[in-house]
């Protein structure tokens, strides 16, 4: 019982206080622990904990397939994907490379030709230059997933240099190197899938905006107007909105604000029309159609930038301060052991 109830609280309180005040204490081992070791401990724990999660996920998917629960076919995809990633990461390096030593300078162009059969060569002259500067030892830029394809290519180029050596990239680097099996999986499977999910946001933003941006009250109207200005102002098409459109919209906006104060709608209409005519006349007199003459307030991109720099920054700061205080209070409760989510 002590291990389950009191021990976690003692660990949380002592480590929390140590890390909090360790930040201010001028003792090298304490600073080292606070700045580096503590986070590394967490990373190590999280890395091992991933086994728990992965096994849990695998267990649920396998059970679904075994018990043939609803939509069990999709679980096969999940299991196959999982197995493939494990295979490509831990069991199959798929990162074979070829090094040529003592290349005959007369064979450089032939070598570039052979390389272009296995990999796209954007700049032949640049590749020739690169090979000529490393005739003693040159690593073919292509990474071969299978050893047999590497061997086949090695046989092809064996006559062009004194020595042809096959190698395999070390474990770890094989995950990062472009052209390896893991890299292929990342760029050809994972990247399109992630991009697709992120792209869904565009559609969901459209449907959410369509549903939510309604002129229900003053705040909702302000949100709507700011949203539209920002959407138009942030793209090149905002530059094409002429000054007179913006001035007319501003006059309408002012009209909407003062409308409750003017009961006679004819007077209101007259004021709006006067405003539009006045702004148009001013625009013609001062030649606002020229970009250098256009006042900033009549340019949608400028208004959009102003909204970003001032109201957005101010609101963002306020929310950040509030959230930071919330985090401080919650952390304080956890450090003192008042709140025990564990």
């Amino acid at each position: 019982m002590f291990l389950k109830r009191q021990m976690p609280v003692i660990i949380a309180i002592s480590v929390g206080l140590f890390i909090l005040f360790g930040h201010f204490i001028n003792i090298a081992p304490v600073q080292q622990f606070v700045n580096n070791d503590a986070t590394q401990w967490f990373d190590i724990i999280a890395s091992f904990a991933i086994f728990l999660g992965a096994l849990n996920m695998l267990k649920l998917q396998v059970l679904k397939v075994v018990k043939k629960q609803r939509n069990w076919q999709y679980s096969i995809l999940a299991i196959v994907g999982f197995a493939f990633a494990i295979f490509a990461g831990f069991f199959f390096r798929g990162a074979n490379y070829i090094t040529l030593s003592d290349i005959d300078p007369n064979n450089v162009n032939q070598l570039v030709e052979y390389i272009s059969t296995v990999q796209e060569v954007k700049d032949t002259a640049l590749m020739v230059k690169g090979i000529e500067s490393s005739l003693a030892s040159y690593e073919i830029p292509k990474i071969f997933i299978s050893k047999s394809s590497a061997e086949d290519f090695a046989i092809l180029v064996s006559g062009l240099a004194k020595n042809v050596t096959l190698g395999v990239k070390p474990w770890g680097a094989h995950v990062q190197i472009e052209g390896s099996l893991f890299s292929w999986m990342f760029f050809k499977i994972f990247t399109p899938l992630s991009s697709t999910m992120f792209a869904l946001l565009a559609f969901f933003v459209a449907s959410a905006s369509y549903r939510a941006f309604r002129i229900r009250n003053f705040e909702a109207t302000l949100l709507l107007v700011a949203g539209i200005i920002l959407m138009i102002g942030r793209v090149p098409i905002g530059e094409f909105i002429p000054w007179w459109v913006v001035s007319t919209l501003i006059v309408f906006g002012i009209g909407a604000l003062i409308a409750p104060m003017i009961p006679d709608k004819k007077i209101l209409f007259g004021l709006i029309v006067t405003g539009i005519v006045l702004s148009s006349v001013l625009g013609i007199i001062f030649d606002w159609s020229l970009a250098i003459n256009t006042p900033g307030i009549l340019s949608i991109p400028n208004i959009s930038e102003w909204i970003f720099d001032y109201p957005t920054a101010a609101g963002s700061r306020a929310i950040m301060i509030g959230i930071a205080l919330g985090i401080i209070a919650t952390s304080f409760r956890i450090i003192l052991g008042i709140e025990r989510p564990f």
Binding site: N36, A38, T39, I177, F186, F187, A206, Y210, I215, V235
Partner: protein
Amino acid sequence: MNLLKKVFIALGSMDRRFIFLLVALSVLFPKLYPDLFTLPIKPSSHSQRVFDEIDTLKENSKVLVSFEYGPSTKPEIHPSAIALLNHLFSKNIKVYAVALWPDGNFMATEAFSQVADKYEKKYGVDYVNLGYKPGGEAVVKGLASDIRTMYTVDLLGNDIDSIEMMKDVTNLLDLDFIFSLSAGYPGSKEWVQFACDPLGIPMSTGCTSIQVTDIIPYVANNQIKGILSGMPGAAEYEQLVRNALDARGVMVEPGKASINMAAQSMAHIVIVLLIILGNITYYLTRKSGKKGGVQ
């Protein structure tokens, strides 16, 4: 008049899938017919600031570029990375790459493979990729005190002390600029809070449009020198870099962000029109007391 009202109410009650179709078409047409949808890109003050900060760096300056994005946010941030590397390599600036996200490794590798060869940059001499380290802000703090506490080898497994350009670099104070390509946590905020602001190292960032509201207070405070906000920011920076390199006689292809801006513009227009339509329907249905809305 009644017919018009009915049409608007019907349009206002359309299935969300029809909205999705409209958005898809608005993105598809500019991609299929790019010549019909060419739009000039005018840089904003924030993008201009980023360009100016990088442009004032001298030859052989040392810049750290941190890759904190993955495949999902690649369309928004990768164009900034490519334009940045074009800018840095064209000025013969040394580039030190790190990643606070595991996916950042792949993004960095791809970016370097796309750009480095064009400027005949040699790995280890002109640029180095130190790779990903877990720990978020702890990595940033570690780099601020001593790079070798975090990295003993680079991404390819080479001993860091055998890399020529690492010889006179001990910690972040030995660098002239930091650029964070960030899509979330850990990202630009961690760089500002734990490295750039305390140590006084100038920093800029390229981030997703969603993150801009989080980062803009730091830009307003001059803690971050300019920001490339999402794809529009990337397109503006691409334009600036392209113009600058054109003037120096270096040919640069149009960047992906610039090409995609037409599609984004059309999508924004469609969304704005849908919002206006929705409000007209809302106004009409409120008057007549009927129900309407997305299904």
